[in-house]
Amino acid sequence: MTVQTIPQPGKPWEVTVKQRTATGSLIALAFILAAATVKFSGLSGKLGFAVSFFFLATFLIFVQQLKLRDSQAAKDAVLGSFAMLGIVLTLIPIVSIVSTVVIKGYKGIHPNLLFKDMALNSVNDPIEQGGLLHALVGTSLMVAGALVISFPIGVLTALYLTEIRGKFARPIKFLVQAMSGVPSIVAGLFILSSLVYPVTKELSGIMGSLALTILMIPTIARTAEEMLLLIPNDLREAGVALGATQWRTVSGVVVPAAKSGLVTAIILGIARIIGETAPLLLVSGGGDALNLNPTSGAMGSLPYYIWKAFLTGGTEEALARAWGGMLILLAFIFILFGLARYLGGRKVA
């Protein structure tokens, strides 16, 4: 009886520990060489180090692959390190932005902020005085107003594109795309020229809402369209086969099935407009006092609070106030985004 050895399936293409250590040590070598270059040549500073490190590491890995395998693999490795460079360059700003806002912003946060407005304070006052109640209220009112108008329009557009698929579907898809490219300042100018100057002759919160609506509709329409497209056609066919009219199918089957998707569309729409500054500067004015009436009077907003503290202040307090406002705005965006991810990650239907 000879014991037959069954060959185990191997993975010859996998990177072995030996190769990994070899590559790792090459990168470490590049690191040391880059430090030496910075020390002994004209290149200097962080930039010089980063540049020489990148090119040295790429070159060393290129040579290693050339020796181990062939020129194809070596060129491949160069592409790999350039792709890595791309993603690192993309990530540096986001890390820098978030850390700057957190480090500079926490000084501008104080519990009093939530209960007071800036009516009696200048931006240069200590953080304990004044607050952003008016800004939070203004932003929530304007965003809510924009949502009330743009959600129905956005969803109807999405329904037209996915359910009716009429002969205008293609042009409308294009127009929604084009609308998402409308500069925010143009949205502000439009409300200014069509409503503020000829009709109300006064800046107010509702004008801010309308300007934001223009920016919000495309986001909602496109997200809702994507979400409705995810609903399997079987559901629609089942509805129609049971004798339901299209209206009953859409209202009773498709929309309920896409409910979490539509909530995602709302959330992404809010995230899109919550930090918009330029149109609000034009049409809702900048209020420093709490204003609960969106139909008249200038209305404050979170972006305006930040804008004013940065531009009119100049003291430590004003900057801390501005970065604090930015931190709150960023926190809102993070929360909205997390919610959207959570809802979007769940299975539809």
């Binding site: 993603i87 329904l159 409308v182 300042i185 020229s193 992404l268």
Partner: protein, 330 residues
Amino acid sequence: MTLLENQSAAIPAPREITTKPRLSDQIFRAIVTLGGMASLVILGLIALFLSLKGFHILTEEKFSFITESRWEVITGDTGNIEESNLGIGAMLVGTFLSALIAISVGVPIAVLSALYLTFYARGSAKKILISLIDLMAAFPSLLYGFWGFFVFMASAEYWAKLLNKYLGFVPFFDVPAPIFERSPFIAGLVLAIMIIPITTSISREIFDQTPLDRVQAAYALGASKLSMIRAVVIPYGRGGVIGGAMLGLGRAMGETVAVYTVLNIVYQINWQVLFGAGGNVASLILLKFGEAGPYEVDALMAAGLILFILTLLVNALADVLINRFGKKGR
């Protein structure tokens, strides 16, 4: 027998078989179609109202509104306008200049990181990176602007000095005076950082759609990753990537707040990108709006109209490119 007879009374009359939608459906379709037309109506209204307010400026200032670079209104004692010289030439040049810098820096980085995300990143790292980049696309421009001013400016100024020192013989990188702060170069870099997330996610989506059979066919023929990408992914995704770049260009051209905070807005045509003077139509509108009289406001509307048309054209081109050439390839 009796049972059946009793039931036959309860069976409703069969519905008429027809392809004509019922009344409820007709109403539903009408409402949805109307809602679907909203984007057309809104875009039309924007063009209409901006023209209503701004068109007379275009006829009065004629062609010089686009070519001239002055912004002066001289009012008489009674408040009526005696002389006006309004032109957005410098601002148009500045808009294109900063947007071009933005896409020439941003698009290569975005394409490389899209390649990384599609073909190198694996598993949860890929998911996290994609979420981060989508999140970055949602950051408000206000944040980019102030980050650019307070944090990024110092590094960018240093890079500008290096460029000027070693490439100063190129007319672009020359400066009339050693002022490197708040230059179109820095504004362009901030815009580049703003458009990288959008361009990355569009490119990534296009690369993801590359037919798997072609990718695997290339691998089966012995292609390395580089030659597979060159032979399959790039020809397939080229149009889409260019379209994504155009979308980024449109966004960079219409950007207001970030440019306003970073750039030193000066009324002169400035081709020397490293010199701290420049402009952008959108930031001009924000700058002049506060102090503008009625005539100037109309001129700003005209400037807005031109900006609107420009971004619409760029977006249309992007859309055509993404849809027409997005799905081709070998």
